[in-house]
Assembly symmetry: C2
């Protein structure tokens, strides 16, 4: 069972994932990614889907053409855990390969 991140550990973890913010009114983190077009946005989603499925930890996400809005939380733990930070970091790395910093 993975535990919710709190206090200093949480702040340090959040600082490690550029572009992610805490969601108001909910123990979750969010980021929007903007790509060049649908092809790139869905290509990003496809690569992330494989990572998420392998980790058995899945995003809540919304796609409108070239944008992908993501929310991450760990339902079993009732909040943000290391698993969310890891998936967020993986998303940032994949987005970076599409030229999205």
């Amino acid at each position: 069972m993975v535990e919710r991140l709190t206090g200093r550990e949480r702040q340090q973890a959040l600082q490690s994932i550029a572009g992610w913010r805490e969601v108001e009114g909910r123990d979750a983190i969010a980021r929007s990614f903007v790509f060049t077009d649908f092809n790139e946005a869905f290509g990003f989603m496809t690569r992330v889907a494989l990572v998420a499925e392998k980790a058995d930890h899945h995003p809540e996400w919304r796609n409108v053409y070239k944008t992908v809005e993501v929310v991450l939380t760990t339902h079993d733990a009732g909040g943000v855990t290391r698993r969310d930070i890891d998936l967020a970091a993986a998303m940032n790395a994949i987005a970076g390969q599409f030229g999205v910093a």
Copy 2:
């Protein structure tokens, strides 16, 4: 330029796509699909993405684990057109192949 569907034509078109409803406060149609798991939900999305890209007509959609919530509208036309009906019908057909009626 494809035109907004109105009147009798619109009602007939909507009746042809099971499970789709009109969105309140917006000229758009929506449907939620519930699959067995993330693998099937994202498999559905991947097949739909190829259809959408080929038609150059893309959904607004949200995925949370095994659910996919879709909204369709034609931005250029300011509302629901034949292109939305066609994409909705294609989504229903693909979902059907996953056993989702």
